[in-house]
Symmetry: none
Subunit: 197 residues, 4 copies
DNA sequence: AATGAATGAGAGTTCATTCAT
DNA sequence: GATGAATGAACTCTCATTCAT
């Protein structure tokens, strides 16, 4: 038993090896879209369907559901880090990029949320990592007397707050709300954009 | 814990009725506890088990999973409204009570989040209602020149922000973080407690 | 997401609480039959289908695939133990009953096999227990000078051998082959029957 | 380990051919190792990986999963046949070689088991063939008055029995148990070794 | 009214087999 | 010939919801 595979009459084509990279990218994109619409718990089958590949392909590229999420968020964090590492950046600049990603990616918000500074119970491990990387990127540009430098975790609390301001609302409202949030915090934000330059 | 049960029946009816009311309350309490431990997706069977009743009873009182969540949150909002309606209240007082509920109830946070001011896509309808009721309760006490009175939705954005600051961290850290969040917003909060009196 | 359940138009009857015990028995019977036809790896869905119940029922009664197997085998071992514990039994009598169950239940054979005396690698834990219980039951009746009392594990090796003689052949041949096996071992077997009395 | 490779090509052809033969052998060896560790249901992908080739190569050499198993077992049987065909062999000698293969190759055991003399239901066809070939090899050396010559299938039953004694236990225990089994059958076994010279 | 068993649709994951390169 | 990605069916297990008792 356990093996009944029928020879399969119509098999929808195997685009060969070239497709691999394309598929991985398609999966990440699909995941971002699905997450944005349905949250981080959306069924992986939906992601695969949206990417136009079989579920097996998804599992070939990502061992489990966590890996999919990580891949999606990785890009967001990377942009923030990249921006922070650039020559001519200042805090507002980095915050602008961070804000763009918060507004763009519901999954990002969720993960940053879940992490916070608390860190314990059911929060997935990767959420922590991401959160810490974002913190490091920001702190590097934090002037000594800055509003958010007062207490140790003011920085991450502020990020979580903006993140919170932005959860829920439809895509279009998010940027406006994010700006409003930073304004309420009395912090200056640079141009909101996906990356610096 | 968290047992602010409203007298469900003015004049005690027969045993059946009393039991029904008791069960409903037990279910709501159980749901709050379970949600707090396992998130809003926890199985309803777990709620029923914790409440010490059969699953049928749960369905007698609540038509579906959404109704259970609503019932839990209803109480949180009600306390805020009640506080706002009290004679001798001011904004810090109401915020204190709101903050207590945010820190206490993970589900509440989630719902407030989900709602925000934006409102459209996948946000459950009841989240909106709750959010609006909280806003009304707060706005009643908002002095004209207040920080959060500048733009129309500054108020709700601020609530969402505090809410965001508080998501994720373990229970114990939440109140501290909530206070830090309000501080960053430059807003005064009264004593954090379940209800005003 | 994660929740799409449609109200389900035609639901095939819920026979109520009475059915529970009946269902459990039906499941064990079905499992025995399926195991006998397809081996211990047969899909649980096949077992549920054969028992005429939904898969959920199966999982209500047995937490996982191992539990199903255990339940089936438990009965076989129990009969052997019962026989061994009876007043007027001797080794041939117990062997007769053991032989009946070996011939009857392919799953039993498999489990006894898997256990053997070796015991280590991938052998499921329950196989060991079963094997040991059978050994205890037999050893109680083993006279000092008996052929199978020479080395410590001769007894279990002999059982494994008969078990081996009986694996594979269709049901009808099994009893004959089991008898032949015991004969080759020079051991007397009593009447082959499901239980003593 | 267990590398009794038959020269596949008499006169070395081009590199392609040589590689093909080498791959086939590597696959069979890998399969034997994997089967021994994970049983006959191990994923074919594991076999290919272990052999250091792509899965496509596996399918080039073997049409399906059954063919892989057959190829592995073929070698075991072949050694037994070869031994039986040698000039200076007697029954104990052949049994010694058979025993070695039983102890060595879990898959061999399984197949011999599955076959037995009965034969009908779910037993794969190749198991039968193998079993019959083993029987022929042994019977050629069976003296008239021998213990295992009494009934027609005593011989195969005995083999199945030893095979049964050896299933399950970890590799190291198998040879000891196999010897114990033959002893209980009152049959003499020669040196246990992979082939007779 | 309460109980808790039953149902069955999926969700997650694995793997035999095919096929472009 | 070799490679390894793609496919998708099958399998295990979970849980919202219904309903006989």
């Amino acid at each position: 038993m356990t093996q009944h595979r029928v020879p399969e009459e119509r098999r929808p084509a195997n685009e060969g090896r070239k497709a691999a990279a394309r598929n991985r990218a398609a999966l990440v994109d699909a995941a971002r879209a699905i997450y944005s619409e349905h949250g981080l718990n959306a069924p992986l089958s939906a992601v695969a369907r949206r990417a136009g590949v079989g579920q097996g392909v998804l599992y070939r590229h990502f061992p489990d559901r966590e890996a999919v999420a990580t891949a999606v968020l990785e890009e967001n964090v990377r942009q923030v880090e990249r921006t922070a590492a650039a020559q001519d950046t200042d805090l507002p600049g980095v915050l602008g990029v961070l804000t763009w990603h918060l507004a763009e990616s519901a999954a990002f918000i969720g993960a940053l949320h879940a992490a916070g500074a608390g860190g314990s119970s059911g929060v997935p491990a990767y959420a922590h990592d991401l959160s810490e990387r974002v913190e490091r990127a920001l702190r590097a540009h934090l002037p000594d007397g800055h509003r958010l430098a007062a207490a140790d975790d003011d920085l991450m609390i502020a990020v979580a707050m903006v993140s919170g301001a932005v959860t829920g609302p439809a895509r279009e409202q998010r940027e406006r709300r994010a700006r409003a949030a930073w304004r309420l915090l009395g912090v200056e934000v640079g141009p909101v954009r996906p990356f610096a330059e």
